[in-house]
Symmetry: C2
Subunit: 198 residues, 2 copies
């Protein structure tokens, strides 16, 4: 029904998470209707990002500058290093605006199943950063999955010989979580890590 | 948190129907992760559409060619003309693959409230097409809204003097519609237009 170009745009949009074939078609139609305003704006934004995206050589974050905005921010505490699996984790943690240190992106997690070993992750560069002696604390912020926790354990062992504090994110009830709906693993962690009431 | 360019892309995507700020951010992240494959593909598709979108001078449809794919398709019956309010209606009707004639896009509906009069719509070009005498039937496929039906009535009156069949879409129960859940207007139309069982 529509031209080849319009169909191609529809398929390209349908690949985005959160959009299916139907909503992609609606989005294309909306872009066609707004071809004077929103379409060139989206094109320009996409083009700018596409041309400038680069992986930060220091931390592995992806940004439009190298070093990335976080690594080059002088207000951030270089003595605190938060190690995460993926770029998305940097964004998620930084949205909370609580951690004011810097990050290190591993680019994945150790996984025997997927054949991902230590050499496949940005671990050597993490060791280099730590070896410089400019880091006081490493926060291991892996996902609370089996593979994430395996990776955290491995890193903790590798980091042990350095004079720094190694911490990990607390496990327990998520905010708003109802006991009735939580899995046994979470409840067990929450109970084990119980704290005196302040 | 992210660079200005990434934020700009996020806002541009968030304007698409079906995507909000959160899902736009997820989409950006996904694009960042797939910056080798999906990102350039989307950019290219968007660029192609953006450069080639043009309004068909004959029918008002938006396509990447002028005349549009429908107007230039020799397999389509030029003697049947389906008049619709918007480009989206062409796409919706053509998806059903039942109508094999051509279209005419008004570019809106008559609306006293919004100050849209006959001169604001592509009515003059419709009259020209019909005046040529090459059209046997005009299907008035306006929306079943008050303004859509007002527009249909107006067009029917304007077209009356020409020797052609003027039809409109049937009103009644939608496929899968349950009486219990339908509004009284639809039920009244369905009852009024009842047909003998074949």
């Amino acid at each position: 029904m529509a031209s080849q170009e319009i169909e191609a745009l529809s398929s390209a949009l349908a690949r985005l998470p959160g959009l299916g074939p139907r909503s992609a078609r609606r989005a294309v139609l909306w872009l066609v209707k707004n071809r004077e305003g929103a379409l060139p704006a989206l094109l320009e934004a996409l083009d700018a990002v596409s041309q400038q995206l680069v992986e930060c050589e220091i931390c592995g974050n992806v940004d439009t500058a190298d070093p990335c905005g976080i690594c080059s921010d002088p207000k951030r505490d270089a003595r605190q290093l938060c190690v995460v699996e993926d770029v998305s984790d940097v964004w998620a943690l930084d949205r909370a605006r609580l951690f004011r240190g810097r990050y290190h992106v591993l680019g994945g997690r150790l996984s025997a199943l997927d054949g991902v070993g230590p050499d496949d992750l940005n671990i050597a560069s993490l060791m280099d950063r730590v070896a410089g002696g400019a880091v006081d604390e490493v926060v291991l912020a892996m996902n609370a999955t089996l593979e994430g926790q395996t990776t955290a354990h491995y890193l903790a062992e590798r980091l042990e010989s350095h004079p720094l504090r190694i911490t990990q994110l607390a496990h327990g009830l998520p905010v708003g979580g109802e006991l009735d709906y939580l899995d046994e693993g979470t409840l067990a962690q929450a109970l084990r890590a119980r704290r005196p009431v302040e």
